[in-house]
């Protein structure tokens, strides 16, 4: 019988070693697998390369906590602002940063999951973020060559799972999670609940279980309510 559920956090995070590359899902507080990230921060692994949209927000949980713990030596993301933990490490030169346009980041991750070695995108052409990269004119427009970006591990959050690892999401909780599930060689999903096999409608499954290796149920897990100041720094 296929059963991807793991009984506890130790089983969920087994085999993540020093120097691993780790995809971390989430956009804002939604879809961030904070239970997994917090446990990883306490696990003692070091020299991680983290691939995520942001650098975390609050220092006491999630990516902020992981970066604050000193476990991360490199961050690949689109928008590292709003994280005091990251700022502190970055100013001291303790963490390497690669900034990637958000859509290019998403597409590079999807490419890794889909077996596409590299692709040409108009995004970033003629900008500093394309410096040193190959370009090619396609259909009259300059395109930048971008390579697939997969990782040893993907930590993702979904809402409902079954024992095959089929996943559905809630609200804006998909964001990077479905494509990161595809791009992790070991994909670990934190979910709010697990239903019996067959209960998820085949038409509404977003991430088929083929992309998921382990499922850990974490009760609760609703993200905190977000602030509503549109002009707040650190957004995006």
């Amino acid at each position: 019988m296929i059963d991807k559920q793991v009984p506890d956090m130790a089983a969920a995070l087994a085999d993540i070693s020093d120097c691993a590359s780790v995809l971390v899902g989430g956009f804002g507080a939604v879809g961030q697998p904070n239970a997994l990230i917090d446990a990883l921060a306490l696990s003692g692994v070091r020299n991680l390369t983290v691939i995520a949209n942001n650098a975390g927000f609050e220092p006491q949980t999630g990516l902020g906590k992981l970066i604050g713990s000193g476990a991360v030596s490199k961050l690949i993301c689109s928008f590292p602002r709003g994280s005091t933990a990251f700022d502190a490490r970055y100013e001291k030169g303790e963490i390497e940063l690669e900034v990637v346009p958000q859509g290019t980041l998403a597409e590079r991750i999807r490419a890794a999951g889909a077996g596409i070695g590299a692709f040409y995108t108009p995004t970033g052409a003629g900008t500093r973020l394309a410096e040193g990269k190959e370009t090619r004119n396609i259909g009259g427009r300059d395109h930048v060559l971008e390579y697939a970006l997969g990782a040893d591990v993907a930590l993702i959050q979904a809402y409902t799972a079954d024992r095959w690892g089929n996943l559905t999401y809630k609200g804006s909780g998909r964001n990077f999670n479905p494509i990161m599930a595809m791009a992790g060689r070991l994909t670990i999903a934190q979910v709010a609940n697990v239903v019996p096999l067959g209960e998820l409608d085949p038409n509404v499954i977003v991430t088929p279980g083929i992309f998921v290796n382990r499922v850990l149920t974490v009760a609760g897990g609703d993200p905190p309510l977000a602030t509503t100041s549109a002009s707040k720094e650190g957004a995006r």
Binding site: F79, P80, S172, N175, D222, A235
Partner: protein, 220 residues
């Protein structure tokens, strides 16, 4: 330049109203963080416009009332939002496929500088003063069918933001096709900046003084 206050700049709300009024029914629109967000509140009643949020939402609705927020639903600015009837949810690669693939009719962004060629510089003011961070700006500027900018006409120091050539790092080349500043509405054409409307009391000469590139005038 001893600027007599002989004109009344458009207020933020007036700017939002000007933008909103120019959005056609049926357009798919992505509103950037900050000032552009205000546009949503000014779309004329009865005109259906579909708002896109790059984190995976089409059909974004207004900010929820107190105690009505769904913690699982945020916009690109990480605020809690609502959905309208007809909304759809999807993942980041699909969301940026909409942007990059030219399916978004309009993106409204803030900016540091705009060149008369349409070059946009809105993500970084220098090479080293601050942690670099780009978000989805480059994808939106390169991908949306129309890129409109909402901005003050000059910086806080009084320097023009509309220039011949951007000094700051580019977000995208030849991207912007219209500017809504607090002083004027300006099309970016093959021939450069063309002013379509001006704030009350503004003169052509004064606007040119406050602009770092030549202006043509074709007021509507």
């Amino acid at each position: 330049m001893t600027a007599a206050q002989d004109h009344t700049p458009f207020s933020r709300k007036e700017m939002a109203g000007l933008v909103a009024n120019d959005i056609a029914e049926g357009w798919y629109v992505n509103l950037g963080i900050g000032l552009p967000t205000l546009v949503a509140d000014h779309i004329p009643a009865g005109r259906e416009v579909v708002l896109h949020s790059e984190n995976g939402i089409l059909g974004m609705g207004p900010v929820p009332g107190p105690n009505e927020a769904d913690p699982w639903l945020v916009n690109a600015g990480k605020e809690n939002v609502t959905l309208v009837a007809g909304a759809a949810l999807f993942h980041h690669a699909d969301s940026f496929a909409m942007i990059r693939g030219g399916h978004i009719d309009l993106c409204v962004l803030g900016t540091f500088e705009i060149a008369e060629t349409g070059d946009l510089a809105n993500w970084s003011t220098s090479g080293s003063d601050r942690t670099p961070a780009v978000g989805g700006a480059m994808d939106l500027a390169a991908g949306a069918r129309n890129v409109w900018v909402m901005t003050t006409h000059v910086t806080k120091a009084g320097e023009p933001k509309l220039v011949r050539q951007c000094r700051y790092p580019l977000t995208a080349a030849k991207a912007v096709n219209r500017i809504y500043s607090d002083l004027a509405v300006i099309d970016v054409t093959e021939g450069g900046f063309v002013v379509r409307a001006m704030a009350p009391g503004m003169t052509q000469g004064r606007l040119q003084e406050l602009t770092g590139a030549p202006l043509a005038f074709s007021l509507r």
